[in-house]
Symmetry: C2
Subunit: 192 residues, 2 copies
């Protein structure tokens, strides 16, 4: 039992290191050696857990989806109304602005990198978007926007992805603050 | 003279092949061998023109900036009002929708890829955005929005980058049409 727990602990260490590296270096420029170095797990042990980098990617996406689901559940407890919940979602780029201006959106940049000729891997990474999209759509529906909840969900994602892209390209945190304020106003106008 | 012209013709062939490859495969996954294959220029001749892939990137960005400037000048002749010109800009994702859903925005995806640890190269690619940004800002100023022309310019870029990102992630051309229609309405509301 102790051994199994230790093995799972090692696996989590690898996943967390790979998550950080895929975000900061990109998937294709990140090597097994990089993952071994950052996770401080010997190369042989790394290969015991993951045979290929694609397997690491799948584990990283599962990890990200789990974390997102936990975050969304905590927001449901913390915020009573769908407006407050959607406004909390829109705050993401503000909360992680230093990461965004250096590395962009972790979901968006990974998807865009893999979309160029690595469609099978891109499809795996889409799960990150889908968990947000389902939740956002539910909030719009609860807010009374059932008729066009899908289109509103996509518009909100277009907006936040665009913010992450332009803030990253120009290393501009003020752009984030200005645009997030506009999203908040737009959401409030839909709710009233 | 004939030799110099031929040499320039070869150079342009290389640049066009690299432009396409950087867009469709990404910068880091594109090799000199790929460029030689697509351009049909022998490897030795390729190396005569460009010593490194970074040099090819610089030439590709110059080429893209030149093409954009010519396009913007032609729009100025074709469209009389700043509103029509800005609405033509917003049409870009619609006009190249098949490319967008397969490879994203050529400017955005290249910038995002290089931003992760290759800042010197990312800075070079920023010139693509700057040529659009200057022109868009001028149109907003002419339209009577001098006071907040910079913020409006950034908002329009946030929107179009977000469209390209989400349409690419979901391979969704209807999203492009819907969002571009909203941009047109927004621009018209600013002009009236």
């Amino acid at each position: 039992m102790v051994t199994r727990e230790k093995s799972e602990h090692v696996r989590q260490q690898i996943i967390k290191a790979a998550d950080q590296l895929f975000y900061q270096k990109g998937y294709n420029l990140c090597s097994f050696t990089d993952i071994a170095t950052v996770s401080k797990i010997p190369r042989g042990n790394l290969n015991y857990h993951f045979k290929t980098k694609d397997e690491v990617l799948i584990a990283v996406i599962h990890h990200r989806v789990d974390e997102t689901q936990q975050m969304l559940q905590s927001w449901e407890k913390e915020f009573k109304t769908p407006l407050e919940r959607l406004q909390r979602y829109a705050q993401i780029p503000t909360k992680v602005k230093d990461e965004v201006i250096h590395y962009g959106c972790p979901m968006g940049t990974l998807n865009m990198e893999l979309g160029k000729g690595q469609q099978a891997l891109q499809n795996i990474t889409k799960a990150q978007f889908e968990v947000f999209e389902r939740w956002i759509k539910e909030q719009f529906q609860t807010m009374g926007c059932s008729k066009n909840a899908s289109a509103l969900t996509m518009h909100l994602l277009v907006w936040t992805q665009g913010i992450a892209a332009m803030a990253y390209i120009h290393q501009d945190t003020r752009l984030i603050q200005r645009e997030v304020k506009s999203i908040n106003n737009w959401l409030a106008s839909l709710s009233s």
